[in-house]
């Protein structure tokens, strides 16, 4: 039985197109050519990133400003201090204030299987 509804036909065709695009596109994306091109593009982005990064580091040093790496190192040190504080707080038994809620009992049993 064929449908007389053109909208239903269109939807069916869309599903078929999607399957085909996934198959053909997937096969291409799996090829060496595609992988080489994709990583070539990534390498170009990385080269640009490295060049900009080096330029910015020099500019920031000239302006007597901290570089991104130095800010990241500072952030890392702060993070480690926070971790140590959390450990000290835990060791001292201090916990963040949370509203007390009644704790449920823990005796639940699974429902019996029917039949």
């Amino acid at each position: 039985m064929t449908s007389t509804d053109p909208a239903a036909f269109f939807r069916e065709m869309l599903g078929e197109w999607e399957k085909m695009a996934n198959k053909v596109g997937g096969d291409f994306a799996r090829s060496d050519e595609f992988t080489r091109a994709m990583h070539g593009a990534t390498a170009a982005t990385m080269s640009t990133q490295e060049a900009i990064s080096a330029m910015m580091t020099r500019a920031l040093a000239a302006a007597n400003m901290p570089s991104r790496t130095e800010i990241e190192d500072l952030s890392g040190r702060l993070g480690r201090i926070e971790d140590q504080l959390a450990r000290i707080e835990a060791a001292l038994g201090g916990k963040p204030e949370r509203p007390a809620r009644p704790k449920p009992s823990r005796t639940r049993k699974p429902p019996e299987k029917k039949g």
Binding site: A7, E18, K19, N22, G25, A43, P110
Partner: protein
């Protein structure tokens, strides 16, 4: 003949009505945000760099004795388990009487680029499990983990057999990385310089991972947009589309060293299935896992094909172990209408008898 003519007229009238609705709701679509996701009430127990541990407020007066810890994959946000009321695995588990916790991830900061596989397996997971035990007052914990969260949980369980694991459930968890064909092609060491990528960017950018996931099904995005336009009249469709579209675009960067290690050890070396994987200098043997174990795979998973997870059950040492393969894809297995009908009831039934 007359019936066919009526069908065409009916169809035309319906399409006209939908076209009108599309115009009205299309405006609404761009004026409003999507539904609020991940809103089930919870406490944040640990917030440490990329690591988050949540405790959801119990919804039953009497819960199963063994607490349940959900472990999310490191590439995605945990709200896939807690979309909206009525479509939330967390809510479903709470209503079924479980005490639910979740180990979730935030984007690693730039200074967390040195986090490694060891950080996740020997630090974050044990810390989360210890806190769940402390919070619940119980000595054992059930772990339910998704995708790469499953890999981390397996590694932790194999290396910590005395840490109080009661049951282990993994969803779509790969162990044979040679069978993840598309990712294998893209991670081909002839073309992919992972060292340079990590040394340049620090963390592996989320955009990079998003593009990789998107390219697994090159036709999906275009067809999805056309389907969205076609279904703009349908509020339920639009709501579901927005939920899943937002989640799938919300890809997290990966900590640089962790990405470098997983690429070299798993994608290139396939060390887990080869039995040569070491974490923190200790050899990982999944045969050390002896607790009840369940793996759930998705029949049409395009991210972790069933062949990549098929050897898992055989590698685990448990006597009580099982694998079920359900209809659906990588995401629809765990969330959405299919999950509510298929995975969630199976999970609750399997866990219930093992959580007392």
């Amino acid at each position: 003949m007359a019936t066919a003519a009526f069908d065409v007229l009916d169809g035309a009238a319906r399409e006209f009505e939908r076209a009108m609705q599309r115009n009205l709701k299309g405006l609404e679509y761009f004026q409003t945000g999507g539904p609020t996701l991940g809103a089930t009430p919870k406490d944040v127990l640990i917030e440490r760099g990329t690591m988050r541990l949540y405790h959801y407020h119990p919804r039953a007066d009497d819960v199963y004795r063994v607490p349940l810890l959900l472990v999310m994959a490191t590439t995605n946000r945990g709200y896939i388990f807690d979309m909206v009321p009525g479509q939330s695995l967390v809510e479903y588990l709470l209503d079924a009487g479980f005490d639910v916790f979740m180990l979730d991830w935030d984007a690693p900061r730039a200074d967390e680029r040195n986090l490694s596989l060891e950080s996740y397996v020997l630090d974050f997971l044990p810390a989360a499990v210890a806190r769940v035990k402390e919070e619940s007052g119980e000595d054992d914990v059930t772990v339910v983990a998704y995708c790469f969260g499953g890999v981390l949980s397996l590694l932790w369980a194999a290396l910590h057999p005395d840490d109080g694991l009661a049951n282990l459930v993994t969803f779509t968890t790969p162990v044979d990385f040679s069978r993840m064909e598309m990712f294998q092609s893209w991670a081909d060491r002839r073309f992919f310089d992972v060292d340079r990528l990590v040394d340049t960017f620090g963390n592996c950018p989320g955009d990079y991972l998003y593009t990789a996931f998107d390219m697994l099904r090159p036709g999906q995005r275009a067809a999805g947009n056309i389907r969205l336009y076609d279904n703009l009249w349908n509020d339920d469709f639009v709501k579901a589309y927005r939920m899943f579209d937002r989640w799938s675009a919300d890809i997290l960067p990966l900590a640089g060293e962790y990405f470098r290690q997983t690429t070299k050890k798993l994608m290139w070396g396939n060390e887990l299935i080869e039995g040569t994987l070491e974490v923190g200098g200790r050899r990982v043997d999944l045969g050390n896992i002896n607790v009840p174990f369940l793996h759930v795979a998705a029949e049409h998973d395009h991210i972790v094909p069933t062949a990549a997870s098929a050897p898992l059950v055989g590698m685990v040492g448990s006597k009580d172990k099982n694998e079920i393969v359900l209809k659906g894809g990588h995401v629809s297995l765990v969330a959405g209408g299919n999950a509510i009908k298929r995975l969630w009831p199976n999970l609750v039934e399997w866990l219930g008898v093992r959580s007392i």
